[in-house]
Structures are given as C-alpha cells and as structure tokens.
Symmetry: none
Subunit: 192 residues, 4 copies
C-alpha cells in the first residue's frame, strides 16, 4: 500500500499521543513522517481526517494481536486471560488516541464511521464467546452480543484506570487484570 500514507498515519499516532489533539500541528506530523508539508494534503484533507485511518490501523493491530496471542487450544479460562492481556496492552498504547477520536470528532462527520471500524472487533469477540458457550462454560441465559460490548467496555475502562489515570506500576496492573478476570467470570460463567 501507499508508503507515504502509512508514514503519515503512524507519525500522527505518535504526535497525537505525545502532544494531544489541541497542540498537534500538521507540521509536527510531516516532520515525523519525513515528508514535505504539502504532501500531507495529497493524502488527507485535514488534520482531523486522519483520525478514522488511525482508528482502522488500531483495530487491525488489535485483531492481529488477538489472533496471535489467544491460543484456541487452551482452556477458556486461559484464553480469557490472554484476551485481557491484549486489551490492556493495546489500551496502554492507544487508548488516548481512541479518546481523542471521539473527543475531537464529537459532532463531526467522522463519528459515523466509528462503528464500522470497530465491527471486526465485536465480531471476533462474539465468535470467541460463542465457542465458549458451546463448550458450556458460559451461562445459558447469556445473550452474546450485548455481553461482548459490555466486556470490552469493562476491560478497556479497567485498563484506562491503570494506564491513564492512576498510572499504576506493573505489579498493580497485574492485580487489576486479575480483578477484572474475577469480575468477568462471575458475570459470565455458569454457577458451579
């Protein structure tokens, strides 16, 4: 795919993260991408129009990680743990970007595209849950689609607390993951 466009997106991710939306200049992005000021406008119409492309890259990244790191041959318990790990890691790297996307774009034309971009993520997680239900791990009365969204929101918000607000240590992050897992299991699993 187009090399320059990629460079812009990745430079934008870095700069947005470092400086925040408000203080990010197109000139910072092009400097990071190693291209000329004008070249930016051959690929994007404005600073904000990079956002959906960033979101796409991040969801792709998430899916890759899930497919790579969640081992289907293991017990569901273990898989769930791996899912939490991935979400925490991706959130660590990108959550501030997600926040920006809808903070910067609230009441803009780009928010529409959001759901479409997130779709593969929801689908993958849906399939993951279905498979577990088939194995009779999950509650019979659990409806998958809504639960998927709740679970994703739950894990993400826990990760946010760790990485954004409280800026916790590695050990505390591990503890937080265990708490989320515990909480989720009670919410999702069959009672023994």
């Amino acid at each position: 795919m187009d090399n320059k466009k990629e460079k812009i997106i990745h430079a934008a991710i870095d700069v947005f993260q470092e400086k925040g939306i408000e203080k990010t200049k197109v000139s910072d992005i092009v400097k990071g991408a190693g291209i000329a000021q004008g070249t930016f406008y051959l690929y994007f119409s404005s600073k904000l129009s990079v956002m959906p492309a960033i979101a796409e890259v991040m969801v792709e990244k998430m899916m890759e990680e899930m497919k790579e790191r969640v081992n289907e041959t293991r017990l569901f318990d273990k898989q769930l743990e791996q899912v939490v790990d991935v979400v925490f890691d991706i959130t660590k790297s990108y959550r501030s970007i997600f926040a920006m996307v809808y903070a910067g774009l609230a009441s803009s034309e780009y928010l529409q595209q959001w759901e479409k971009i997130y779709q593969p993520y929801y689908e993958w997680m849906g399939a993951f849950f279905k498979q577990a239900k088939a194995k009779e791990v999950l509650r019979d009365d659990l409806s998958i689609e809504p639960s998927v969204k709740l679970v994703i929101g739950l894990i993400e918000s826990a990760a946010e607390q760790v990485y954004l607000y409280d800026q916790l240590s590695k050990e505390e992050a591990v503890k937080k993951k265990q708490e989320v897992l515990e909480f989720m299991k009670h919410a999702l699993y069959k009672k023994q």
Copy 2:
C-alpha cells in the same frame, strides 16, 4: 460568591459540548458567561486550564444526583437500578466533556488532578457497596474497592456506547441498562 468564575465554568461546559474543544474559542466562552474577554484571564490561565474545574463541577453534580435519586429505603436491586440511571443520565449530559478532559490534556499537567477529583465518587460508591454487603446481598469474597472502580467503568462505558458511539434510541437505552444490571448482578451478588 466567586460569581464570575462560576459563570465561566458553566459557559465553558456549554460551549465545549456544543463545539468540541478544538473549535471552542475563549471569545465564545466569555460571550456565554457575559463577561469581558480579559476577565477570563483573571480566573484561568488558558482555555485548557478550565478543564479541571469543569470536572469538579461534574463530579459534584453526579454526587448530588446520587444522593437525591438513590433511595436508601428501597431494596438494593432497586437502588442499583437507580445508580445506573444516574450514571447514564450524567454520562449522557457530560461524557463528551470527560472525554475531552483527558483527550485534550493527554500528556499534560492537569491529568494528575483527575484522581483527586474523582475521589468523592469512588468513596460514595464504596459506602453504597459496603451497606449492601452488610445486608448480605453481595458475594462474601468481593473486595469492595476494586469492584467499585470496575463497576463505575462498566456502567460508564455502556452509557458511552449508547450515547456516543451508537447513538441509540430511548428503548435501546433502556435495554442496555437492563443488560448492564444483569451483568453486574451476576458479577456481584451471592449465588442463590
């Protein structure tokens, strides 16, 4: 009392919500507050420095609503429902502001203050849970402090999905609330 400062904060909330951070001008804020441009700078050093004050106001608002609308004489089930209602309503009104606070201020000096501002919220919810535990509604092995944070994150993220991303209808909002409640109960309650 500090009448002008109050006016600025409330005008800022309105304008940020209407236009987003990026497009909000200080001149809009002062127009809304009915004061002169220069007066703004007697109270705040910049546009962004209003953010923590806004956050404080919103947490206060949340606490007021909780105290007003969560009826301690009712069953815990009902109270939990009321809590979810309040969080959904406040999120509906202010979540875009919350998003802005950390989107606009990622990597800034203000993020530090965040936890301190949220503290009363966590404390209230902690007390609420303790009371329920005393009534033997909640699981014995539930540790309250971490659960409080998870629950708040869970409800907020559900509310976000309803009001920010998916922009769902009233009926769908009601359904989402029930799903969250269901999810929470399984996660928190004693098994029968």
Copy 3:
C-alpha cells in the same frame, strides 16, 4: 513634595532600566511603587509621560553629584578627573534611561522639553570651564559653549562604551577614563 509621585518616578526608573521601554508595563511600575494601578493615573497620563519627570530627576542627581564631588580648591587637572568620574558614574546608572527618553519619544511631544531639562547641566559645565580659562589653563582660542557640549558628549559616549556596549571590567573603566582625560587635555589645554 508629593510622596506617591516620587515613588512612581523612582519605580519607573528601575523598571525601565531592568526591562526596557517595550516590555515595561504600568503594572510593573505600580508594583514597584507599592501603589494601586489606578493611582498611577492620578499623577501621570500615560507610561511615556513619566519620561520628562525621570529626566529631570536625573539631571538634578547629576548636579548634586558634581557640586558634591568636584572640589574647587583642587587643581583643574584634578577637577576634570572628578568631572569624568561623576559623568561615568551617572552614565553607568542612567544612560539607558537617557537613550530611552529620546528613543521612545522621538517624534513625540516630550522631546521639546529635553533641552530645557539639560540646561542647568550645560550651565554648570560652562561656569566650570570659564573659571579654568581665567586660571589660564585652557586654550585662549577655545570657545566655551560649544566645547562644553562636545566634552559632555565625549565623556558620555566613552562611558557608554564602557557600561553599555563592551561591558568592561573596573580596571578597563579606569583605563578608559584616563584615555578620555588625556584626549580632552590635548583638545582643551594650552600647549606648553
């Protein structure tokens, strides 16, 4: 005389010297004077209108020093040395202010007052030279009035070089003074 007015003038001298005209704010001056912002305008109509008052203070200061430090009982040689000392010292303290006065006020209404303010200085120096001529120290063909102005200009510019541009050490200042004296003597004295 009016205490507050005095305070303003002296604070203004300090601040102008420290920050330069451009960056001096009325608020700095009143802070230095220990009075309220509005009080300034009871005594002066604007920032620039303090200038003539400052100039007056400085010429007064100069005259005081001359009368105090130039000893009429000594040889003219010695007296000339003392004159140079005074000019150097006053220049050290105030020359940047003098510069400002006409830099800031070039093409302004205040420049007119300048000559009048400087007048006592020229007169004193004129009397000083006349007395020396009577003692047959100075050249017979020396016309006093123009020489006085040249001498003042010469000493001042030498002092400027020392204190403004080259920022020389104490030793170098002493040397410069000797050079000026030598130069002046050749220009003014009778040939032996």
Copy 4:
C-alpha cells in the same frame, strides 16, 4: 538573493524611524515590505530581533560612504573633514535607529552582538589613523585603538546634538562640524 529578508529590514528601518519602536506594529513593517504577516516570522522571531540586522545594514552603509567619500589622495585635514561629514550624514539618517537599538534592547540578548557589528567601522577608522600617523600628522604618543573609539563617539554625539536634540539649522550644523574638527585636531595632532 534573500530578497524578502532585505525588504523586511528596509521596511523596518523606515517604520521605526517614522513611528518609533513602541508604536511600530509588525503589520506596518510587512505592509511596507509588501509581504504577508506570516512571512515576517520566517525570517525574524520578533519585532525586536530585526534590530541587529538593521544595525548591520547601517554599518555597511557607513563603510560604503566612507570608502566612497573619503579621498585618500587629499591632505589628512581634508580627509578628516570628509569623515566628519559622513558621520554627520549617516547619523542624521539613522541615529534614531541606533538609539532605539539599545534603548529597546537594553537588558536584552541582542546587545551582545553590537560590538561585533561595529567592528568593521572601528577597523576602518583604525587603518585611517595609522596611515595618518605614518605621515607624521598625529601625535607620537597617541594610541590608536582607544582614540578611534573616542573620536567616533565624539563625532556621533555632536551629530546627535545637531539632529536629535537641538534640531539645528544647516548653518549651525556646518558650524558644529567645524567645532568638532577643531576640537579633534587639538586632541590628535602634533603640536607645531
């Protein structure tokens, strides 16, 4: 060559002279230079940072005039007269700028550069004096370097008196020049 920078400097000279530092707006300068507001900031960081560039231009101008108008084939007496003429003329045109340079920049970072800018001027005058000494016009005991600085200061301050303070007529200017020359000759020449 660096056409825009040149244009800015020359426009700045004009505007500073017309309005004084305080009242000069960047927008005036760019209007005079026929460029856009933003272009100014590609070449200079602020209004004040043009000052050293202006000083450089003026010293260049001075040197050009000296080389053009001081005729080496004439007697030293005549040459000295021509030097005074040049200094008076340049001072007439630019002294208010010089005043501004250090008035506006007192206590600033730019004052340091001053000596370096003046250097060619001092050097030229030094060479001029050496040549005269070789011809046995000047006193044997005259040390050239310090005298050069004194002479330049003397002529400049005389010119200032004529053009800045006293705003004298053409005839008076001529008379002042003769006085300076007379003064200088006594200070510099061998006794007959």
